[in-house]
């Protein structure tokens, strides 16, 4: 191979002038994929908002949502019940599903990139089970206070998630701890927190057990505006910070710490910032929605398959894919045995596992060929 601008087959250098066109084609494909996903997201979000046990025609729904924005005399006549259902139940539910799906997916994508390990996600390194355990403790301690104890539950879940993350990441910061060790440590911690939570369930009263189960099977059931606001604000802070580290994540993905450092990135600082962001958003979401596995693991893989591994593209795409996945899971859970609602945390496994196995097997085939 010479360096004189010739192709591998000795073709003249002029042929390579076509290169930018090839790149443009790929960019156009990506843009189209983004547009389709965005459209799907909007359609499913609207359907999820307007469809449910109480049927609300789309026209009525839109009128109900817009009427507070209009001057008094112009407000359409909308049944008060429809407005109440939409604004206090459906809308926060759809929004929390969007935010939680997007947040878990982004956390998963960032953690997979920085550890260079496709098996890492908020769920697999034990953060979510830890949060569930923290919530269980708070529910038990709150005794008979019922819903009044909601804030302590959220705080306890958050603290347990942070403690678990700090332990696992402290472990990974030790020299020589590989991604495999990280995942195995996470599996171990998941079992530990699972066992602890199970022990608490045995101690719990029947009333408390019902509340604890809500955490063990995460869902966006009973989503409230405060939940939407808190998770939304955290996501709005975390997303731009992670996006600003997209180059660094690419460097980590390309060759780990040494390559990232040799390409000019401050490895330790990047690792801390990215991990803290991923843990914060995960902890915030899990605190309100309980344990929702698989979104954080699968959405980034779907993203890599569809738009490639460049984190500048992968992060936003994973967020959208995760939002869609959780929204679909919640919608399916509501429709499947209506009026009984199967928690999204369960349904997402029905949807996620087949996709994941498909990707995994496809990947193995690709690697062996």
């Amino acid at each position: 191979m010479s360096l004189s601008g010739q192709g591998p087959d000795g073709l003249p250098g002029g042929l390579w002038g076509r290169l930018p066109n090839i790149r443009r084609g790929a960019a156009a494909r990506r843009a189209a994929t983004f547009a389709i996903l965005g459209l799907l997201l909007v359609v499913v979000a609207l359907y999820s908002t307007f469809h449910g046990v109480a049927r609300i025609p789309v026209g009525t729904g839109v009128a109900a949502l817009l009427s507070p924005l209009l001057p008094a005399g112009w407000r359409p006549d909308v049944p008060a019940a429809s407005v109440a259902i939409l604004t206090t139940l459906r809308l926060p539910r759809t929004l929390l599903a969007l935010i939680a799906g997007a947040g878990l997916a982004v956390a998963g994508a960032a953690m997979q990139g920085i550890t260079r390990n496709p098996l890492v996600s908020p769920y697999t390194i034990g953060i979510s089970p830890a949060a569930s355990f923290g919530a269980s403790v708070a529910i038990l301690m709150a005794a008979d206070h019922g819903m009044a104890s909601y804030a302590p539950v959220v705080v306890a879940a958050f603290l347990a998630a942070l403690a678990c993350a700090a332990f696992v990441l402290g472990l990974s910061a030790l020299r020589g701890v590989t991604g495999t060790v990280l995942v195995l440590a996470g599996v171990g911690l998941s079992y530990l927190f699972g066992a602890l939570a199970a022990t608490l369930q045995f101690i719990a009263t029947e009333q408390q057990l019902a509340v604890i189960v809500h955490w063990a099977f995460g869902s966006v059931n009973g989503a409230t505006w405060p939940a939407v606001q808190v998770t939304g604000v955290v996501l709005a802070i975390v997303l731009p910070v992670l996006a600003a580290h997209a180059w660094a994540l690419n460097a980590f993905a390309a060759g780990g710490d040494e390559v990232a450092s040799s390409l000019g990135f401050a490895v330790a600082r990047t690792r801390i910032v990215v991990t803290v962001c991923a843990v914060l958003i995960t902890a915030a979401i899990v605190s309100y929605a309980g344990v929702i596995g698989f979104v954080g693991l699968v959405a980034p893989h779907i993203g890599r398959l569809m738009v490639g591994g460049d984190h500048r593209v992968l992060l936003p795409f994973s967020a959208m894919a995760g939002a869609l996945l959780l929204l679909l899971a919640d919608l399916t859970g509501r429709l499947l045995f209506a009026p009984v609602v199967v928690p999204a945390g369960i349904v997402v496994a029905y949807l996620g596992v087949p996709v994941f196995l498909h990707l995994l097997l496809g990947r193995t085939r690709g690697a062996s060929s």
Partner: protein, 271 residues
């Protein structure tokens, strides 16, 4: 009081200093890896770093890029100590090609090469960057596979992508850690010819850690023989790769010679 003539003199002196380490020592896990290593790499020369397994070649390369902080001694690029520079500034001066790339989480060839522009990303537009990446892809014969996943490439193709990334990084010094160890004969030759081309055409300084002594002899301007963490000898291949030196460093009896102007080194027996 200052004369304008001094400025080029300083620049020339800095360039002459090159990338250098002085009395470098490194201990890891209680074991001495490098001790009292002093050497330099100047622009426009290809230096091959040879020595038995565990001699400290990879460690030395990492120290020269500032990836590992030595226990003693200094590493300086053109007179400035590495630790006084930001990682980004170091990356604009020194490029590093690791031994193996491993999995890359679905990065394409073009995205891998584009990473070489990372240390320059705040100083150029996306269009400029795309142009440089496209030019590098073309130069290294990677244009047709720009959109392919790096992980799907063969060993030879991967090596070429990593070289293209180092090239596009626009550094003055290139450090390559055993770029040929996983390659077949043809791709070994291909990679080393590319490296030689970078030295001759662009005037960069390249240090290559390499096991193949004959290849080192053929392509290097200068050879450094590392043994048990110390520089045993350095210089032209005829002076460094002698049967005596090789017996001391590797514990192997060799026949050294040259045919049609190409050096050969045949291992005969364990000494």
């Amino acid at each position: 009081m200052t004369t304008p003539d001094i400025v080029p003199d300083i620049a020339a002196a800095a360039a002459a200093a090159g990338l250098a380490c002085t009395a470098l020592s490194l201990r890891r896990r209680g074991r001495a890896i490098l001790s009292d290593v002093t050497l330099s790499l100047r622009q426009g020369e290809l230096v091959c770093l040879v020595g038995p397994n565990g001699a400290g070649k990879s460690s030395l390369i990492r120290c020269l890029d500032g990836l590992w902080r030595p226990g003693g001694g200094t590493v300086a690029v053109e007179g400035r100590p590495l630790h006084s520079l930001s990682r980004e500034a170091v990356a604009r001066l020194i490029a590093y090609v690791p031994q193996a790339a491993g999995e890359t989480m679905a990065l394409s060839v073009a995205e891998m090469v584009a990473l070489g522009r990372a240390p320059h990303r705040h100083r150029e537009s996306a269009t400029e960057r795309a142009g440089r990446v496209a030019a590098a892809l073309a130069r290294f014969g990677l244009g047709a596979m720009a959109e392919r996943a790096f992980d799907e490439l063969s060993g030879g193709e991967r090596q070429r992508v990593l070289l293209a990334r180092a090239f596009v990084q626009d550094a003055r010094y290139l450090l390559l850690d055993e770029p040929t160890s996983a390659l077949d004969l043809r791709h070994q030759l291909d990679a080393l010819q590319i490296v030689r081309g970078l030295v001759d055409e662009l005037g960069v300084g390249v240090m290559v850690a390499i096991h193949d002594l004959a290849a080192a002899a053929r392509f290097a301007d200068r050879i450094v023989l590392l043994s048990a963490g110390q520089v045993q000898t350095e210089g032209a291949w005829q002076d460094v790769l002698t049967p005596d030196h090789i017996r001391t460093a590797f514990g192997v009896e060799v026949t050294v010679g040259s045919a049609d102007g190409l050096p050969y080194i045949i291992p005969a027996a364990v000494a």
